[in-house]
């Protein structure tokens, strides 16, 4: 008998107390001002939250960030934000090791925990989200859900792909519980909320 069959047979023999799968609906946490809650949670986990009127205002807002001024190589998935230096070749992710800043559109944000849902199709290669020295995410302010239940209600996973709830920069507290920002991945995460929270605000476009 092969391992697969052996495992399944053993599991079928086990008598397990049967419990119904609970209904995912519930009276879950909501926020009067999801943007404010999101910003507060993101700051509390070491990220930064900024608000701009629209994507056209991003270049000026970004120019004010110290990491932007010092960056030699910037890659951007947003048409409104020009990159700096070599673009990233999706076939050669290792060559992205010296990217200083990656600017990536996020799909939506979660107020409850300060997370942004980001997918690999928004970026030249998914490793940029983790390998760049600094990451900037751009999310329409109208695209903030209250909690993780609402987040999953928006998601479907019927095709191959990668997505990540990103909440703050890479960090660790593995040495004596002392929090250090910038473990192996991004040293900073800045989320720009665009628009006034009106859900008719257009989504950020991905550069061709």
């Amino acid at each position: 008998m092969d391992d697969r069959q052996a495992i399944l047979t053993a599991l079928r023999r086990a008598r397990v107390e049967a419990v119904e799968r609970p209904d995912p609906a519930g009276d879950w946490q909501r926020f009067a001002d999801p943007s404010a809650r999101f910003a507060g949670m993101l700051e509390s986990v070491g990220g930064h939250c900024r608000t701009v009127a629209d994507c056209a205002a991003l270049p000026d807002a970004l120019a004010g960030l110290p990491v932007w001024r010092d960056a030699a190589r910037i890659v951007s998935s947003l048409a409104e934000v020009p990159g700096r230096g070599r673009a990233v070749d999706p076939a050669d992710p290792h060559a992205a090791a010296d990217v200083d800043v990656a600017v990536v559109p996020g799909e939506f944000a979660v107020a409850e925990n300060g997370a942004v849902w980001v997918v690999d199709t928004s970026v030249a290669h998914r490793v940029l989200l983790f390998l760049a020295q600094h990451v900037v995410l751009v999310v329409p302010a109208g695209e903030i859900v209250d909690n993780m239940h609402d987040a999953y209600a928006r998601l479907s996973f019927d095709t191959r792909g990668f997505g990540c709830f990103t909440s703050g920069p890479s960090k660790t507290a593995d040495i004596e519980q002392a929090l250090v920002i910038g473990a192996h991945g991004p040293r900073s995460l800045t989320v720009f909320l665009t628009g006034d929270g009106d859900s008719t605000t257009r989504s950020p476009r991905t550069a061709a």
């Binding site: 495992i7 399944l8 409850e112 960090k171 040495i175 004596e176 519980q177 192996h184």
Partner: protein
């Protein structure tokens, strides 16, 4: 060697033992604050327990669905009955692709299987990329905690280690500088790895995908740079549908470290563009545990570590005193199931205070299962003779009211120390003052009040 013997070695350094206790209590306090911030916390625990229990009750069908969906997405699914098979499968995948260097992220399953040793013995360099795991790997010791692998190590010791291994300046003990040194070292390892091995926090039957949670982003770096990703998971990691992750993810990081969510909660569905994804499903004793009516609920565990952080015995004896891959309360249930003789002392590394049960996000009745283990070990004669005799003596006295009255009278006359000297009571008397017996017993007082 038993838990008390190992714990004795740990507590000999009193200053360190207190420091360890405080460090973990700090994490426990963070967990409490995070839990209190969520109004529906208890409802989430209820749902999470139901989701996991439901999944366990239909595990074969969910595993088959997962396999089918994952395969349709382009992943290759492997099944391993035990640790040996798991290690063979992973080695074969790596070998057939001429992989020499692997970046690995945290996986208690691969610890359990001894994967690193197996790969290293076959000439493959494995770098643990979680900072805490890298530290213990460099020290050639196992993690002492499932979430905080290096919680037992002082920053000065990390400084000495990094001075030796990474060439940091002598005497450097500042966590920020040490982490920066590890960053440079590990980024090099990521860039030179030819394969990434990750664990799995949750796998989704309906979608064929899985979720990995890290704060460092190390799993993502390891699994995104090379073309080959091997994900190793215990068969209990499944949930039926993606939406079932909502309660579990809301609980996991808050229970573990008091964070609202980990920095990165990555959802992998199929291999990376032009790459390969292998998923190894491992039993290694889990189907046996599932067949046990008493202990099957322990398979709900999502490895948050909250039971360790709150456990008065764990905090004061250190993870290594358990001599088990998973220490603390949950480890003391899982380990004897794996090797009863070797881990027979673990269910006794517990005061039955029940704090673990109170914090468990998936509502495992930990302290009750630990008590059940004691019963089983006693039945099977796996308990030291002195304790058996003491227990029999205790039971004989407690069952006979007159004898009990006599015994408590003796304690009043001769002091409690007399009682504490007998049998297993001795371990409890060590290192603490035994309070004197009340001058008037409960029975005497009761009689006086009733009659007076």
């Amino acid at each position: 060697v038993t838990h008390p013997a190992r714990a004795a070695a740990f507590v000999r350094d009193e200053e360190r033992a207190h420091w360890h206790d405080r460090a973990l209590w700090f994490v426990r306090a963070k967990r409490d604050r995070a839990a209190a911030e969520v109004p529906e916390w208890e409802e989430l625990r209820e749902r999470a327990a139901m989701i996991k229990q439901h999944t366990l009750s239909r595990l074969p069908e969910y595993l088959e669905t997962f396999e089918e969906r994952a395969t349709a997405l382009g992943a290759v699914v492997h099944w391993a009955s035990d640790a040996r098979r798991h290690n063979e499968i992973v080695l074969e995948i790596l070998r057939s692709r001429q992989v020499r260097r692997v970046a690995k992220s945290k996986s208690m399953l691969t610890e359990e299987c001894g994967l690193n040793e197996h790969l290293e013995a076959n000439g493959i360099e494995v770098t643990d990329t979680d900072l805490g795991e890298r530290i213990v790997q460099m020290r050639h010791e196992p993690p002492s905690h499932i979430v905080l692998p290096a919680i037992h190590i002082r920053k000065e010791e990390v400084g000495e280690l990094f001075h030796r291994e990474l060439g940091t300046p002598e005497g450097l003990a500042d966590p920020t500088s040490l982490t920066e040194a590890a960053r440079q070292h590990l980024r090099e390892k990521f860039l030179s790895a030819e394969a990434g091995i990750t664990g799995v926090n949750f796998a989704i039957a309906e979608t064929g995908g899985f979720v990995v949670c890290t704060n460092e982003g190390n799993a993502d770096l390891g699994a995104s740079l090379p073309k080959l990703h091997v994900a190793c998971m215990g068969i209990e990691k499944l949930v039926p549908r993606a939406e079932d992750l909502a309660p579990l993810l809301r609980l996991l990081a808050r229970s573990a470290t008091g964070q609202p969510i980990t920095s990165y909660t990555s959802h992998f569905h199929g291999p990376i563009e032009g790459g390969e994804l292998h998923i190894v499903l491992v039993d290694n004793g889990r189907s046996e545990l599932l067949a046990s009516a008493e202990f099957q609920r322990s398979l709900r565990c999502i490895r948050c570590g909250a039971c360790m952080n709150t456990c008065p015995v764990y905090r004061r004896s250190g993870g290594h005193s358990y001599d088990a891959v998973v220490p603390g309360p949950i480890g003391s249930i899982l380990s004897p199931a794996r090797d009863e003789a070797r881990h027979a002392s673990l269910p006794y590394a517990c005061t039955l205070c029940g704090s673990c049960t109170d914090v468990c996000p998936v509502k495992i009745d930990l302290h009750q299962q630990l008590q059940a283990w004691r019963g089983r070990l006693t039945e099977r004669g796996k308990v030291p003779a002195a304790r058996r005799v003491a227990m029999r003596l205790g039971s004989a006295v407690l069952r006979r009211p007159r004898l009990y009255a006599l015994a408590s009278r003796m304690a009043q006359l001769f002091g409690m120390r007399w009682a504490a000297l007998a049998g297993s009571g001795r371990a409890w008397a060590r290192g603490r003052a035994i309070p004197g017996a009340a001058r008037r017993s409960f029975r005497q007082q009761f009689r006086e009040r009733r009659d007076g």
